[in-house]
Amino acid sequence: MVHLIEPLIPALRRYARTLVRNRSAADDLVQDCLERAVSHWHQRRTDGDPRTWMFTILHNLAVSRFRGQKLRPVHVDIDDTSERDIARMPSQETTVEVQDMLRCVDQLPHEQRSVLLLVAIEDLSYAQTADVLGIPVGTVMSRLSRARDRLIELMNDAGSEKSPKPFLRRVI
């Protein structure tokens, strides 16, 4: 079990951080996910993919937790999260474009964002993404398509609103 789950922990932490910007809250989520996996290990489908299984547990925990608190990760205010909590990027990559992109992704509806992040960052296949989110593959495709098109629009808006001082942060 350890050698199947342990290599997934970095990716689980990364996905948790896209759901919850705060590092310790994200790691708490991953901890709950791992504990659940340990105690339910014998209930998993032995023919199933452990990666899909783990992401499903993580996603469901996040959904139920935020439903319980009446707080969705998408509503986490960007100014409440320190820049440290956002991925620390190599300095040459810390461009305006990257910062804009992260802010725009935050503005996507929660269900579109999950699809985009599972596919684009975690490299899950469309079928795996459908399993994790418990939706048909067709829905994955339409959400992915809408997420990407919406992101282009948001990025265009961010670009056109840009003042001559490119480092000025947009006030939401």
């Binding site: 342990e6 340990v38 990027m89 992109m101 684009a120 296949s125």
Partner: protein, 257 residues
Amino acid sequence: MARPITEEELHAFVDQTLDVRRKEEVSAYLNAHPEISKRVEAYRRQREILKTAYAPIANEPIPAQLNLARMIERKRRPALASSWLAAAAAVVLLCTGGIGGWSLRGVTQSPEGIAALAEEASATYVVYAPDHIRPVEIKASERDALVDWTTERLGRAVAIPDLSASGFRLMGGRVVATAHGPAAMFMYDNDHGTRLVMLARRMAVDQNMPMVPQSHGTLNGYAWADKGLGFSLVGPASPEQLHPLADEVRKQTSRNI
């Protein structure tokens, strides 16, 4: 163009899940349609930026709270603690002495023979199987060294069973301490990550015993003794799954002695 390109295939192109031939067809299509090509390029750029931006999180050191082995051990500990508690209670009862204590002998006495071996095998499993740093001291690749070491310490050769026909590969093994002297531990795992432990040691009591089932929390197993050597095979599997494996171990170890 043979088949029309669908919207879904544009995404699959960005996510690099198309086969080589279809990828070329989509490329050709994009060359002929600059507007769509611009959009697909924007998708690709989004993907690239998101991947780069979030990559450092996956490279961070894993915090101690996410130590999986520790979590597994914590989960198993309550079962162990209660059995130790039972053993401690037994000692107290025996120490009270007299007829009352003596009459409980059968229930509370610490096990001997094959029952002791079964407990030692479970304890060995609990300690070494969740270990992700060094579950075995000598790896399967150094099989001869493992045979030499265990033979030397047990004073008898113990054949290392081959369970590969059942999907279990030898990981390796080590000599472990028991209350009844040194024992040889061999560990196996399969593609699902299930680990099995086989423990063998010399038997002073129960030198020849038929196979008996054993159970300890979520662990199951079988123990038996053959010409002065005791064996126990344990793992987090059902008795039905373990029984044929134990039979196989018994067959191979008795043949090679």
